[in-house]
């Protein structure tokens, strides 16, 4: 079994305004692309900055390559130089594209000739060699994104952290950037942690999903996130949501709560399932989304609920928009927080 490249325990960070990031445990393995999802304000950017050693946080343990992170000094700088964060709205220095891209290598005291060769190579790889001498003020949003990406990839980091790298670009550029990052990852085999709002992208690009909600990691994704209340009914524990819906959940304390159901834990059927699963909802198919080898189905059960099935299952069921279907899941598939 692969050892984690990064291993965190007891991470805690608070902003003065009250937001708290609290992650009891997180292990990140070499060779994987992690997709970090979550609504705005859930702590994605904060987590990325902490991992990049840009934001000091409290933790019980932070291991990199199996060793505790040093507090300061050359060793910490050396580790920091193995990680690069590309921010959502990247800052480009007030100079030319070439000088921006070369900055990291200049810091590392590379020879001028080598810097020139590497910069040339990355400019050609990303199709921006015509921009070399342009000042950054003359670039469009998409072009700036490519320059920022070139600047990050040029350093060949072991840990590449990306905060919505395709947020401000057109569709063609999205596919281009995704392709280049995947190419880089397959060569470097480090870790890529990619924060995104785009669910399709998350399923398309990532090996594993990390979902953040209000500063906490939650299991699965937050596609099916419902606000409601836990109550007892007939001696059993239910989660009541959307006025008249209820889901059977494992025993917990009553009160306001949120329920999350992983879309891949939901079984789709045309007729009621006879099984041990205690929750079954009936609704109309309102949307399909292609996710590579899988298909996401959005169903209106009174509120939207999303299930993900394989292409083969989708073809067998022969579903169409407007079809009435059953969504079934076990009580244990519902995470209540």
């Amino acid at each position: 079994m692969k050892k984690p490249l990064i291993s965190l325990k007891g991470l805690n960070f608070c902003y003065p305004g009250g937001f708290e990031l609290n992650i009891p445990k997180l292990s990140l393995l070499e060779g994987k692309i992690y997709l970090l999802t979550g609504p705005n304000g859930s702590g994605k950017s904060t987590l990325l900055e902490i991992l990049a050693q840009l934001l000091p946080a409290n933790y019980r343990e932070f291991l990199y390559r199996g060793r505790p992170l040093p507090n300061s000094g050359r060793e910490l700088l050396s580790i920091r130089r193995e990680m690069t964060l590309m921010e959502q709205n990247p800052y480009l220095f007030r100079t030319t594209v070439e000088e921006n891209i070369a900055y990291g290598l200049i810091l590392r005291r590379f020879e001028k000739e080598e810097i020139k060769v590497r910069v040339d190579s990355i400019l050609h790889l990303l199709g921006i060699h015509d921009f070399r001498d342009r000042r950054v003020e003359q670039l469009s949003g998409g072009e700036k994104q490519k320059v920022a990406l070139a600047r990050a990839l040029l350093l060949r980091p072991k840990v590449l952290l990306l905060d919505e790298p395709t947020a401000n670009v057109d569709r063609a550029s999205v596919e281009f950037i995704e392709g280049k990052i995947k190419e880089f990852h397959s060569e470097r085999q480090g870790i890529v942690i990619w924060a995104t709002h785009n669910r399709e992208q998350a399923y398309r690009v990532g090996d594993e999903m990390l979902s953040l909600l209000e500063g906490k990691l939650v299991p699965g994704t937050i596609d099916n996130l419902y606000f409601g209340e836990v109550r007892q009914d007939d001696g059993k524990t239910y989660f009541f949501f959307n006025h008249d819906l209820k889901a059977f959940i494992p025993t917990r304390d009553p009160g306001p709560a949120r329920m999350i159901i992983h879309p891949e834990e939901i079984i789709v059927s045309l007729s009621p399932l006879a099984s041990s699963a205690r929750n079954s909802f009936f609704g109309r198919v309102i949307r399909f989304e292609e996710l590579g080898r899988r298909v996401a189905i959005n169903v209106d059960i009174g509120v939207p609920m999303r299930a993900i099935i394989t292409r083969a299952s989708y073809a067998e069921l022969d579903l169409k928009l407007g079809d009435m279907i059953y969504l079934t899941f076990k009580a244990t598939a519902a995470s209540v927080v």
């Binding site: 690069t84 964060l85 921010e87 900055y103």
Partner: protein, 228 residues
């Protein structure tokens, strides 16, 4: 009105014919203010950057002090300088009073808080992402600070030019510590006051024109540099 017009025409005559006395006075100004500005820029920018980027106890009080010192009256600096540099003062034995060096010291004291305060503001106004970007690309703390400074270069340069403006046109320090000695410590501002008092408007106007041209020229150069 005639005396003003005569003064103006006389001024242009002096400028166009490169009057030696005029040139000596201008040179004293450039030498004294240039030297004071050089050292004030080094110290002021260093203080501004250190305080602007640092987090320490008493930072707020220090910022308030620097902002207050920006408004130091030139005659107060002249007075304090005189107290120290006169024969009866602590540094009287150094024999600096009524020399260009005393003027340089006084103008250094005037310019440094302005440059420090404005540099501090320039650095604090920098986008937080400059620091994060430099660090994530592998900058050490020192390299990060240098990057912030270079990104804020135009604002810092403007701070230095503001310092220059303060001292090039001041008269309090120059007259109290320099003594307005012809060919030695008589600079543009003391000469204008002196010559106007004598009724020599031509030289006064000529010096005024040169002072304004120099100030305009330096600001224009900054604008052109920023635009480019």
């Amino acid at each position: 009105m005639d005396y003003i017009l005569n003064g103006i025409s006389g001024a242009f005559y002096l400028i166009l014919h490169r009057d030696p006395e005029l040139l000596r006075i201008v040179w004293v100004s450039i030498r004294v203010s240039g030297t004071a500005l050089f050292f004030a820029a080094i110290v002021g920018v260093a203080i501004g950057v250190r305080v602007g980027m640092g987090t320490f106890r008493g930072k707020r009080a220090l910022v308030i002090l620097l902002n207050t010192l920006m408004a130091l009256p030139t005659v107060v600096v002249g007075l304090v300088g005189y107290a120290f540099l006169s024969r009866r003062g602590l540094l009287g034995d150094w024999g600096l009073l009524y020399t260009p060096y005393a003027m340089m010291i006084g103008q250094f004291v005037l310019a440094t808080p302005i440059i420090a305060s404005l540099s501090l503001a320039a650095v604090q106004a920098m986008d937080r992402r400059v620091s994060l970007t430099a660090l994530t690309l592998g900058a050490s703390k020192r390299q990060k600070k240098w990057k912030i400074l270079t990104e804020a270069r135009f604002a810092v340069l403007a701070a230095v030019i503001a310092g220059f403006g303060r001292i090039f046109a001041e008269i309090g320090v120059s007259s109290m510590l320099g003594g307005n000695i012809q060919g030695y410590t008589r600079n543009i501002t003391t000469a204008i006051a002196y010559e106007t008092g004598k009724g020599e408007f031509a030289l006064g106007i000529a010096l005024g024109i040169i002072l304004l041209v120099i100030a305009l020229g330096i600001n224009a150069l900054l604008q052109i540099r920023q635009y480019n």
